[in-house]
């Protein structure tokens, strides 16, 4: 198996999924709207004092991004599962783990990247400024792909199962905790003046780990679901 065919396979999947998503642009928009609504709920619940908002800002933004990723998981494999494309994918000569990376990457571009791009605006709402805004974007840029890769494991496990919406949340949220801690921690450290590099490196490590381990687990789960 040549390297070019592997990249060719990933590229093919990414192109296909992005094309399909272009035809249903509402999917990307839904992630963004959800994020904005959830983030707006917190000041309404907690009160508008700037000092309080600045303290809870990193956590709120990160939890909202995490929940938006969680909700988008319902769309990662379902369409292909329903119309039989997933079964074809499993039979292809390239390793399933590689195809999974392509599929999840495309899913991230549609559902996760908009979150990253919108985050500075939302950060301003919570009184974040300057360097911490940059750290926020960086943390989400590293973190949301990790959340997508990890979440794909859960999505694959519950394919076609009744009540899968809540079940996938229960499965995936414990796995999200380290990413949340390092992600929000990066922004908090930056705001406290000690710099977000340490947390960002740990976040990067989570991303790399998820890129290596999650596709195998996801592939195994997909094969189990398709038997």
């Amino acid at each position: 198996m040549s390297r070019s065919s592997m990249w060719g396979a990933i590229g093919g999947i990414v192109r296909r999924d992005l094309l399909l998503a272009m035809r249903r642009r509402s999917d990307a928009a839904m992630s963004v709207f959800f994020l904005v609504i959830v983030v707006s709920l917190f000041p309404l619940g907690v009160g508008p004092e700037p000092a309080v908002l600045r303290t809870i800002g990193p956590g709120v933004l990160w939890v909202a991004a995490l929940l938006a990723c969680l909700l988008s998981l319902a769309r990662v494999f379902t369409a292909d599962y329903v119309d039989g494309t997933l079964e074809q994918m499993v039979l292809v000569p390239q390793p399933l783990a590689v195809l999974v990376v392509g599929k999840v990457f495309a899913h991230w571009v549609i559902s996760g990247l908009p979150i990253v791009l919108l985050s500075p605006l939302l950060g301003l709402q919570f009184g974040l400024s300057g360097e911490s805004l940059g750290v926020l974007v960086m943390s989400l840029l590293l973190g949301t792909p990790a959340l997508s890769m990890i979440g794909a494991i859960g999505a694959a496990l519950v394919l076609g199962v009744r009540g899968s919406g809540l079940l996938v949340a229960l499965l995936v949220l414990p796995l999200y905790v380290p990413v949340l801690i390092f992600g929000a921690g990066a922004v908090t450290s930056s705001m406290a003046g000690i710099g977000g590099e340490a947390n960002l490196s740990l976040l990067g490590a989570c991303l790399v780990l998820s890129l290596f381990l999650a596709p195998w687990a996801t592939g195994a789960a997909l094969r189990i679901a398709l038997e």
């Binding site: 796995l175 380290p178 921690g185």
Partner: protein, 253 residues
């Protein structure tokens, strides 16, 4: 002729079922005996703690329960891995049998941890690495069990919960580390659930005895549960019915 035990013989439920049945009484007796000695030592031999007074005696159930919750998760993950690797039904059944007991010990660890934390630190709950990891562990046990009950096809249920169990085993150390890290960032939460003072030898012994007792109890319960699972999943032929009963049933026809 090989001198070892023919392990392959035990890869079928029919052989495992009576073996498990013979082992259960031994482990049950061991559990009761160890608990008796452990509790006696814990309450009547171990001295009062200098810092914590009598409240520290909760550790004789808290620490064993916490350790069991973690051991059992790892053992469950091992059976899950063996099941996935060898495609053996009994391995999945063992994993299925372990989960409820592991979840129970996790719940007990959390509850007794809160009972210990309130008089010692003034708070029912602290977000230290150990308690938080315990909480995540409870969610993971719940995930393993819910995957099984939500999926109707038994084979898929076996294998899906096995995959999730293995993923969870990787997650717990990562969680532990990340929460410890998080605690160092937010300096306010500097309490920890470890005993401050060095433990007297009698305290340690009582704790270890109780841990062993919980181990014996767990083995007895899990073997018992795996027998129920085998009876429910495989059709239970005349494995355990005594010959007299079979005779009676035959005559009743």
């Amino acid at each position: 002729m090989s001198t070892g035990i023919n392990w392959a013989k035990y890869s079928s439920p029919q052989a495992l079922y009576p073996l498990a049945g013979r082992l259960i009484p031994w482990f049950s007796v061991a559990a009761v005996a160890l608990m008796g000695v452990g509790l006696y030592m814990g309450f009547f031999v171990a001295p009062t703690d200098f810092q914590q007074g009598e409240s520290y005696r909760i550790i004789f159930v808290h620490v064993p329960a916490a350790w069991m919750s973690m051991f059992l998760y790892v053992v469950m993950a091992v059976w899950a891995g063996i099941g996935l690797g060898l495609n053996a039904r009994p391995s999945f059944m063992m994993a299925q049998a372990i989960a409820p007991t592991g979840a129970m010990f996790t719940f007990l660890a959390l509850l007794t941890g809160a009972m210990w934390g309130k008089p010692t630190w003034g708070a029912w709950w602290v977000w230290d690495a150990r308690l938080t990891s315990e909480l995540i562990l409870l969610f993971q046990y719940a995930g393993v069990m819910l995957l099984r009950t939500s999926i109707d096809d038994v084979r898929r249920a076996d294998r899906s919960s096995a995959v999730f169990a293995l993923v969870g085993v990787v997650n717990v150390p990562i969680i532990y580390f990340s929460v410890q890290w998080w605690n160092t960032l937010h300096q306010g939460a500097s309490v920890s659930m470890s005993t401050g003072s060095k433990m007297a030898a009698t305290m340690l012994t009582a704790m270890l005895l109780m841990t062993l007792a919980f181990w014996m109890y767990s083995i007895a319960i899990i073997l018992s549960r795996v027998r129920c699972i085998m009876a429910e999943r495989e059709s239970l032929p005349a494995w355990e019915e005594k010959p007299v009963t079979i005779q009676k049933i035959a005559e009743a026809r």
